[in-house]
Symmetry: D3
Subunit: 239 residues, 6 copies
């Protein structure tokens, strides 16, 4: 089983200040177009941003001999997986986009919260929405349903590579969550992406001021040579 690496708190703090929109632009320029997990939205409007390393869960379709209430007591179960989650991780549950079987309800979310899990992300859904919200665990998902996971899904294992919303997620990749959803940063690229993302945020702020002052877009966004020079001059002055 893959050990979970803690993410440097300084890095967490830096990533909290970069939007997922900016991160995808930076990753696109590095050649990665497929890093946004489809079908995951903040479960509650106004939910705070979350950042952490991925702790993965994998589900496949239900088979009546495997996906049973009895399976919840198995050593390979969602219950055991939760007990293996370290504080600060982001639980990424690949649920094949299934929307009629809820992977977790109030009890499991309450336990994740107790263990310090930073957030739950899934391309599936949760169940017992009032109960889940009452736990305070930040959740990104497709929505809510009534049926239990076993009515449509078989839990396979944790800390394997998973597909979540059409994105390949490996344990220890970094996940950033905001109002636009969930974005993956490959573990090996985190430092570079943060540096580029901070610079991109600064540039976009400078451009936005000019747009608010009535400047037209061509030549400004992206900036031509003249505007690059103006930006760099302002930046040197820390404007």
């Amino acid at each position: 089983m893959i050990e979970v690496q803690p993410l440097d708190p300084v890095m967490v703090d830096s990533l909290r200040r970069i939007t997922t929109a900016t991160l995808t632009t930076v990753l696109l320029k590095k050649g990665l177009r497929n890093v946004w997990m489809r079908g995951t939205r903040p479960f509650q409007p106004g939910q705070q941003r979350a950042v952490g390393r991925a702790f993965t869960l994998r589900f496949i379709s239900a088979r009546e001999d495997l996906a049973t209430p009895a399976s919840w007591s198995s050593p390979i179960s969602t219950r055991a997986a939760i007990e293996a989650m370290p504080a600060g991780c982001i639980c990424v549950a690949g649920a094949m986009g299934v929307t009629d079987a809820g992977i977790f309800g109030d009890v499991l979310c309450a336990r994740m919260r107790k263990r310090g899990v930073a957030a739950l992300v899934t391309d599936g859904v949760v169940r017992d929405s009032e109960g889940v919200l009452s736990t305070g665990l930040p959740v990104w998902c497709q929505g809510t349903t009534a049926p239990a996971s076993v009515s449509g899904l078989t839990f396979v294992n944790w800390q394997e590579p998973v597909d979540c919303g059409g994105v390949a997620v490996y344990p220890n990749d970094v996940v950033v969550l905001d109002q636009d959803g969930a974005v993956l940063i490959p573990a090996a690229m985190v430092d570079e992406v943060v540096a580029l993302g901070q610079e991109q945020e600064r540039l976009e702020g400078w451009i936005m001021k000019r747009v608010n002052n009535g400047a037209p877009l061509p030549g400004l966004y992206p900036p031509n040579a003249e505007n690059v020079a103006a930006y760099e001059a302002d930046r040197a002055l820390d404007l």
Copy 2:
């Protein structure tokens, strides 16, 4: 035409206190995995739970010679169907998941409300969302649209077996609605499901307390022999 059986108010009251999540768990243990209607959500956040017997409506695709404004005056019309609805029923409209033709708008919802219909559930959509909300009729649906039903659907009849969101609904089956959507209980199983559901709610409450006190999940949820004994002891003391 099938007569609508009133649902015992005691039963209504009991079902209001059991979540649809719990009901689906109980039904799964009885062998029913397919009782949650896909694509129906509360139309207004925070809408109250509703319980009642199903009064069904059936729609099929539109045909330009049948699905016309003139059809609204026919003896077989949604208008006539509404006049046949008894107070307390849940109107279940099978609309084949169509999202670009609204089965009802403000006028029809207002009339259903006047007749004491407990709620409207559909795998389709309503139209004139502001008007519908102003009637106060609780609605579970996929959302809202502008076009009338006849632009995409032909109304066939009422009180026939229908498919709503991939669930087979027969007149007089019981429907329970909450934030997680709409769940069907077959008419013949209602008493047993209520009894099991009440017990399941009690057990989950007991488990949740322990989780909130920091107990790990394995052995607790579901409970092993030791925890079953502890639960039963507490239950005897009504804790």
Copy 3:
């Protein structure tokens, strides 16, 4: 390039008072069943109605040699398109229903707002949802995403006929937006549709009063000869 015709402010004002539900009923009676753009919802609850002539944008799928950050500086770019938009127009962006590439973020929406664009409608999504909301531009779309347009779409041109949500939109057609979404009125039919729509709204208001007073639906909605006479009598008295 097609010149944008201004829409008479009197017409704008009249259309603001007719719901899209009523407009689709009127258009259906004129033989048009396909005028509601699928997959576009108000981006913010409670957004005000908007009316204007369509200014169209066309996107197709991304090709890595065409859909690049560098393309944002091209003379044929979304930036250039925005500079061609006249005040009061509705920007209709045909994005093939793509939900994993956001056509616009905060900077472009801010510029559209500055230029007096009445609203943005798309069957795709926007990105940087907090930024977009902060610009105050009214948006109808499928939702939000993180990735930029070029990660999934190639911008082709503006003021061409486009498909938006399964509706054929030509430059200068009129678009009306409310809580039920976006409805197209062919440019040649605007005067007639407004006249019929005003009358339909008046009739529906009269019917709604009777329903609220307990009248049953058959014979009332739609009205039979007797109710037509009653309505016309009341109308003559301006009741």
Copy 4:
């Protein structure tokens, strides 16, 4: 239960000579755009055309307490429905487009063939494809599967209005089947559609000759006044 009206053999013979492509063109000119059943193809390449009145079957989603092998012995079963089918009818089975539960296998198809059913049409699938082919019953469907109907569908009844492939089919409507699929002609329009269809076939034959001789399309297809005159002259001479 609706009685099945026999279709005049002369009419059957006439309809066998008109393609479904021509019939849809004629029906479009009469205002009907939605008469072609989506998802039904000839099960065997080169299958002969079939024509007859619709005898309908209706399926909804499976519910484990209803859709059981025991249900096959019920008085309301596909078995009983087949025994009610008259010779020459077209069995139209509305199966909600389900492709993972086969509505019929070899035994039922063999019995339908024995009873003189002209063809089976469904927006679902059959099962045991080799067995079905060996019965010789002409079938239009989405394909084949292994599981039985009850693993995904509940049989409701026969001779009700049904939705088949997005088309509203009423008992006694006429269905025509060829390589392009299945087209519905409303019962009340059959005579007119046949007359117009025969004339359309004649005209298209005349046009095709000219195209084969190298004539360009504009002015020819559809014919302008000059070509209409030429066609009518040739037609008078029976060329």
Copy 5:
């Protein structure tokens, strides 16, 4: 890595004589409704039946830093997986239903054939269809495409539980393939399913004879007490 258990040749021989349609009926009666892999068809019409234990491959979505031509040389690659396949196994490749990236072409299929793999089953597609057909490897899939696997998929590993066409497949489960597609038999149930399947085939043959002689269906299929007695009498005589 899970060792592959050989399947007894007698069992292979027995299963070759039972259709997948019959197997699904038997499994349904044992409570398993979800054993048929959606989206897998014989790649060549008339392909012979195949039977064997599952050897699984798992793919997830492509990520540009992982799914590269260079990855084909990695120790964890489809190439290495093929070299681990034992003769007689059925390769079951879970490809998430992706149809625009072909998991294997002619070279890999040729090598699988050389190694004695009994068949390839996938809910995805192959590529270079002429080349694949020329290898003689029996394939069940959704069809064919031109692009390589890495244009849409990342290969993860072999001999893990996988989802193939909505069915949970574990290494060493048994897979049976015929014209109706691919059916899974859980490893623990094979003996019982074969016994029941042989009996079901015998009964269905007896029924089919009666249908061919003109017997009506009710009471015969399924047989009532009288027909059960008749069947058992005939069976005792081996008729």
Copy 6:
């Protein structure tokens, strides 16, 4: 209107000998992953390969006031578009994947054939399949239907950039068609792609021989340094 550039016959001849599978591998190595048009298959099994420059047609959704039989006589019509097609071109019709309205039938295909069009490719469907096949025009499409284009589509124009099956196609791009479907080569990259494709075909042939002789895959496909040397030695000897 964009002039159609003829494609050098030598280039056509070279491209006829490279499979679309090989072309997509070459294009992937150049950074293009999205060049295969989804949903287009050879309409007739065994259809010969075709190569040519794209001549594009664009369709959007039907609107009842625009998509009429009368529109077939308009100067902007499919008829006029066909008369503008040069011999040797590949007609690429972007039909938004619509499968219930056939873009062309026998008459239009016959005329295209007369004009020397090399092939028709569409992500939609044709109609009157027997008629279309009888014209001999090679067609790649999703299949066949009965209804005319105007029942679901509005024709917009020709020689514009179009989306065909999720691929951005510009006039004069090169299209190659075989049993695996339709692949686009950007106009600017044709020479390089042909050179690389020829080399790739040669290498794959060399590898296939080794596989057929029993060589294992690792180190061979793709070749490691040793096998690259062996290949180059053989290549120098033209083996």
